[in-house]
Point group: C3
Chain length 362, copies 3
């Protein structure tokens, strides 16, 4: 029995995703001040809305416990939400605080499940597990919002594929050589490299350094000689359940260190939240360290990045899902190569955590 | 173990609907004199057409026993129907009476199942069970057709939800306060009421009496003072499998009894026939006791009622179906309240009958 | 237990189709010289493309063994195909011959399954079984290409039905009397006939001879007296898995033999390849023995035949599939008649072969 076969057997024992962890539920910009915003996360319909006073978001199971109407079809009364079907009213914690029927007795069980939410770094983070929300586990991507507001952009894509196919894609950046068009192509330079992969207790890091001519188009015009060669780096760190922080930059100064302090570059976050076993919410944010105040360029930049992912990655990943027909990757006995080192380590690390959570939850 | 849990367990033992009972297959007006009308009822495709001489409708399994083509794609020869694929001809009872192939021998087994039909009160009623049709069980809604022909209207809606969600909706009329727009709104007056619920041997009755200002818009203009308050009543009676007779009326005369003889009102029938576990045929008829001869008003009235159901009830009920993801209502442990008394009694009565039929059929 | 019931039980033991046999994968004209042509056959995605030098087609499993991207989304390099995701390159036999990643070591298991293909008679034939391709079993329809190139036409239709419903349809040509419109109608003359059916070791033949007035419209204008009666014949031979060679002709010369040498007629092939249990690739070719050099008439003729099948047979067959809801024909206890003799013999012969293959493969 090979290691992969063992992993496959173990994978069949686990739930399809971690429960007790922080996922992104929505971009901050997706949820307007008065909206009743609905999205299905981990096979569970969720309603998100903002308190009137301070805009703080709250999340409830998007299903009335009375006759199961979606609460997002109802209406707001202050910070409460009223079910459109029979006007049961729930407060921000999901407790029924008004029953207009009969004598108005509030049924003891008229309680909607609420989910811990935190809004930070341009995202609304949600904890959907049964264990208490672990605030110390909330990821910190404060870099995204540490500069001028016009230096950062956010976008969202629904994808018809298992969430791990998206993390596979980002963890193996050699695909950029082949899949992507002019604006972010790495011109074949990543593929020959064997990335440096480092395993943390609960993280996987990978790093590539290379030169290309011209530089990546998103950076070239900010370099002294746009058509000349430039040194580049990618540095990415996965943490569970599916957050990948990616830094990338380019320089034409031979002595510069390859980091965001010494290159024209950007600090990105790719993060995925399962909608179901074969549908995923894909969120992306990018903050650049150049032309930081230019709102028009900022809008163009995020639209360009969105276009590259939407037109080039998404159809490919969806076609992989279709060809696989399962989420059991190791069960299909993939041929793994040097470029898969980081992605495979992420899958194995996640499997470990899934087994661990399964054992803990019994 | 709670009562609901017990009911849930029992519900898992029953078929999803009663078999030996009368359902509405179609509105009379849906089946033209020459039509081969097809509709799937209780997961069974059914062909309905009318005899030439007297227009009497007949129903056959809509599937040729030879090579399983749908008979409704064929053609009529007098009162017979001919399969389009190989021209086997069947009479009104489903017996093959002509085989044009070879020597023309009629295969003994070339018999299509026929279903007892009765046309009454503007509906075509069908008996799909294996037990003999019980004529004494045929419901009588003769009130619908006891007045001027222009006083009654009929309509039909396909709904993407289990049939019991529609009976739930009608049995709890408090939803009108919240779900419906101007033409039939009850202006919040029903919700505080606890309806009077009466259980019969094979029926559930509920009654509401209230005042509102102005009256329900479908009645206000026929009252002496359209913008003034009026007393109203609803009186509804469910009988199996899913027929709900609803009477509603309004009066501004303080001494009048709240019944259709003493109010401006209407006598309605809501009735549902499962297409499948999660699709339902919803039929509705309404006969008013005012402006009875006005054809134009009649057409406007039924169109308005259809619009209210189609635009306001149907999307809501379909969203409940989607959120439930099952027909096992009690299994989801609903929080039931005073307004659910009649609807819950209907579900329990139906469960009893389903268990009874299961035991009888073995 | 009846014979049909026995067959039903046996049918439940077999795979849904033969594996070790030749199917048509595509029409020659469907696969251009530079195309990466994709089609799912027997539930397996297949890539077909042509060698540069001689146009010889090759077939590979359309799924990269690395990360399961469809190979047809990639690109060609000479006779190799390169995966679009990570640029693994495979030769015509499916062997990986270039890995651009890291040190370029080619993984031992980086092998795509290839399928034996033969291009003959205007079709690309594929062998998808695990046993060695049996060249002696390749069907010979050389008649199709033995005349002027403008005398033969080919067409293709995807059908939403099990493949055996299409062979049923062709094996029982009495359906033409009822299903088809003017261009190929047999005017009710086939139905009274009992076809002569002959069973070979691995074939079923059926023959009809009849007169009609006027002749079939595809032939009438080539006969001496287009509106007068003419003698016709159909002669069809099924061989596994689903090839039906059909000859048809008409003559007004009383002494002429009813064969293609002595009638105005055509030599056709109907052949089906399962895509899945309920979807089928339906291929058709026809070569006429008259007006052989007329390219415009040839184009009209194949378009007319395509139209007749597409508009008249396909919707009917799909409605039969829908009404059956299964591929277990005998399990539905069909009423079989004299016109079914050939079609039923084909189903039984195929069942025998399926059982035989099951036993052989264990």
């Amino acid at each position: 029995m090979t290691v992969d076969t063992k992993l496959e057997i173990q994978s069949k024992r686990t739930r399809p995703w971690l429960q007790n962890t922080w996922y992104v539920a929505a971009l901050s910009q997706e949820v307007g001040p008065e909206a009743l915003f609905a999205r299905t996360l981990l096979d569970t319909p969720v309603l998100i809305y903002r308190r009137e006073e301070n805009g703080e978001p709250v999340a409830l199971h998007d299903r009335c416990p009375h006759r199961f109407a979606p609460l997002h079809r109802g209406w707001r009364e202050g910070d409460d939400v009223v079910c459109m079907y029979h006007a049961l009213r729930f407060d921000c914690t999901g407790t029924c605080n008004h029953n207009p029927h009969g004598k108005g007795k509030i049924p003891v069980l008229a309680q909607v499940r609420s989910f811990p939410l935190v809004e930070r770094d341009g995202f609304i983070w949600i904890w959907m597990g049964d264990e208490p929300a672990d605030m110390s586990a909330l990821p910190d991507y404060g870099e995204l919002v540490s500069g001028h507001p016009n230096s950062v952009g956010y976008t969202y894509m629904p994808v018809g594929a298992n969430y791990q196919l998206i993390t596979d894609n980002v963890m193996d950046l050699s695909h950029i050589d082949h899949v992507h068009g002019e604006i972010i192509t790495t011109r074949g330079q990543l593929t020959p490299l064997i990335p440096q992969v480092a395993l943390g207790e609960r993280s996987v890091n990978a790093r590539w350094e290379w030169s290309q001519q011209p530089a990546m188009m998103i950076f070239a015009n900010f370099l002294p000689a746009p058509s000349e060669p430039a040194r580049h780096f990618f540095d990415i760190t996965w943490t569970p359940p599916g957050h990948i922080q990616l830094s990338v930059g380019a320089t034409q100064e031979p002595r510069n260190a390859l980091d965001l302090d010494h290159t024209i570059g950007q600090y990105d976050l790719h993060t995925v939240t399962p909608e179901s076993i074969d549908r995923t919410h894909y969120f992306f944010a990018t903050r650049r360290n150049h032309l930081e105040e230019d709102a028009e360029y900022n809008a163009q930049k995020i639209a360009g990045m969105h276009g590259a992912f939407q037109d080039e990655d998404v159809p490919l990943i969806e076609s992989v899902q279709e060809r696989m027909g399962t989420d059991d990757f190791f069960g299909l006995e993939p041929v793994l190569m040097s470029n898969d080192a980081a992605a495979a380590k992420v899958r194995r690390k996640l499997l470990e955590m899934l087994r661990e959570e399964d054992q803990r939850l019994g």
